[in-house]
Symmetry: C2
Subunit: 340 residues, 2 copies
DNA sequence: GTGAAAGCGCTAACAG
DNA sequence: CTGTTAGCGCTTTCAC
């Protein structure tokens, strides 16, 4: 079977305490015996049990990550960023996909609890929800009693660190760009308005219109849910009506895709029949040379930032709650332009 | 601090064995005391330590997953499929991204070893490599002594279960489709030919040409490496030469994107100036209504299959090594057609 | 410098 | 049906 510290100790004719010392590089060990032990460990391919070590130290080196959609490119990149830092620090990552399902989230949290992870990075299924869901989540998070970083979505009156996005500002800016281009009838395909990120992006849009004295018109407000499918349906509908907006703001990467899909099917040309700008970038669109303007964040970096924030919390458990708001970057590629 | 089984036992005035019994639903427990204990557990929000349990049982319920690129949509879907089954079975997933780097792979394997996972799903950085890398990998895998499923990429003379893809057949078929369309000058942007998956896809192409008595021409063979960038560079080059192939086979999802990028930049029209078919699908292309024909597998399902294979191995450790080859599905959308 | 002993939280015989 | 006991593999005092 697998070797244990006792086996190594026996082979080396020392006590397991000594082996433990060389394993952990702690305390004094005679140079000779240290070498001997190291040699035996290598030769016998011995790896200490992280389980036993965790139990003994009453602390693991495991980080939990809970995200809602592993197959969304945004979260793929987040995971990449987190992995990168986790790897540098020789930590271990426990991963859960909640599939945007609250009860899965609950189970994931229970699992994390039992696993005794050292820290958690969580993108909740909900975001600043009023109801029971959030109360329950906060309760669970408190019961966990471990350093936690909320990512992208949060809770009200959070007591946890968080990395979020300039939701309001990015969409205000995007709308402003459309306005300054001279568009009058400016539409929006919103995200899920039950989520704060959805609401904030909607508000940014509304306030920009207001500030520039453009009358908001309900018929150009299309309420979506951050999914390709819904955005597609909504777009299909308004594109085949006889009252097209001049320009549209699409509120996330998937919404943009749904919008474009409809656009193609309706044989409308971007920047000619209708203009647009989106929140989030879509790497694939760039690759394809499909020029869709956007205001976006760097998702890989967002993952890194979240993980580093967790590390800092480990170092300094008492420090005040920290929140970092990822800035947006504007990339204009022409789709926002008013056709001549 | 966190409650332990002892705390619960004390509160209930029973021994911890009894608590353990209700926790594990094993052995006889008086209905009254069971209820009492369950109540106390719930009220005090007690979650048993998975660490202690693993140590005691000498077996964890943790599955390791090692993949080379978390941000490739293909692996995002794989992860989704694995997660799905992991979740059903109440297992825990430990995740590593090797970033296609052998030394990271080695470290990931060490980590997996220490974590004492119950099983492993691995997509190696290399694939049927001849050199030291593979020898080392196989050694490590053997040292691990745990059920392992190789996914998408394998090793020579494998002793492990595996889920792979009809690499040869899919590319043979894709090439055949181009041939039957009447194309004569058929090019290929290969994948990484150091990987078996790359070689097999290349061979499928060559053999199809041979079987249909079409002379293979070196100038239409573009050696890529499965990346967007390389495929783009190669495409750009041959597209601006004066000897364009009639049709091209692109050997994976990223290669297809690089090819299309170049196509757009060169103002060539797919299905008119040049025809094409790819291995792997690109969901985004479908969404965008960009009709690119392909032969592809269902990646989410591939993840599920791999995870189920692992479960079956747990059930039946002695069974013969199993290999499942995911079939390809053809989707023709017009890009393969010969222009009239 | 090194070893003996206790203990981390849990499970698993084995008595009773 | 329930408690006692030993032990999982490791770390950590505390002696020596």
């Amino acid at each position: 079977m697998k070797l244990t510290i006792n086996d190594i100790a026996e082979i080396c004719q020392v006590s397991k305490s000594t082996v433990s010392r060389v394993l952990n590089n702690s305390g004094y060990v005679n140079e000779k015996t240290r070498e001997k032990i190291e040699k035996v460990i290598k030769e016998n391919i011995y790896y200490p049990s992280a389980t036993a070590r965790s139990l003994s130290k009453k602390e693991s080196n495991t980080i939990g990550v809970i995200i809602p959609e592993a197959d969304n490119a945004f979260f793929g990149e987040i995971l990449k960023g987190i992995s990168e830092v986790v790897d540098e620090k020789n930590l271990t990552l426990i991963f859960c996909d909640t599939n945007n399902n609250s009860s899965k989230e609950e189970r994931a949290l229970n699992m994390i609890n039992m696993q005794g992870v050292k820290g958690l990075i969580l993108t909740p299924v909900n975001d600043h929800d009023d109801g029971e869901a959030e109360k329950k989540l906060k309760g669970k998070l408190r019961d966990l009693k471990i350093p936690t970083v909320l990512l992208d979505r949060g809770v009200k009156n959070s007591q946890w660190d968080g990395v979020f996005f300039e939701n309001y500002q990015s969409s205000y800016r995007a709308t402003e760009i459309l306005i300054k281009e001279g568009h009058k009838k400016i539409g929006i395909i919103t995200g899920d308005l039950k989520l704060k990120i959805g609401k904030d992006r909607y508000k940014g849009y509304l306030n920009a219109l207001e500030d520039y004295k453009i009358m908001m018109d309900h018929k150009y407000i299309y309420e979506g849910n951050f999914s390709v499918e819904k955005a597609y349906q909504l777009s299909k509908k308004f594109m085949s009506s006889d009252d097209l907006p001049d320009a549209v703001l699409t509120c996330n990467n998937l919404t943009t895709l749904g919008f474009i899909k409809a656009l193609k099917e309706c044989n409308l040309v971007l920047g000619k029949d209708i203009s647009a700008i989106g929140i989030d970038n879509n790497e694939v669109l760039d690759i394809l040379g499909y020029d869709f303007s956007n205001v976006a964040r760097d998702a890989v970096d967002m993952g890194r930032v979240a993980m580093r924030m967790l590390l800092e919390r480990f170092e300094n458990p008492g420090r005040q709650r920290v929140e970092y708001i990822m800035p947006f970057k504007v990339s204009l590629k022409g789709s926002e332009k008013k056709s001549p």
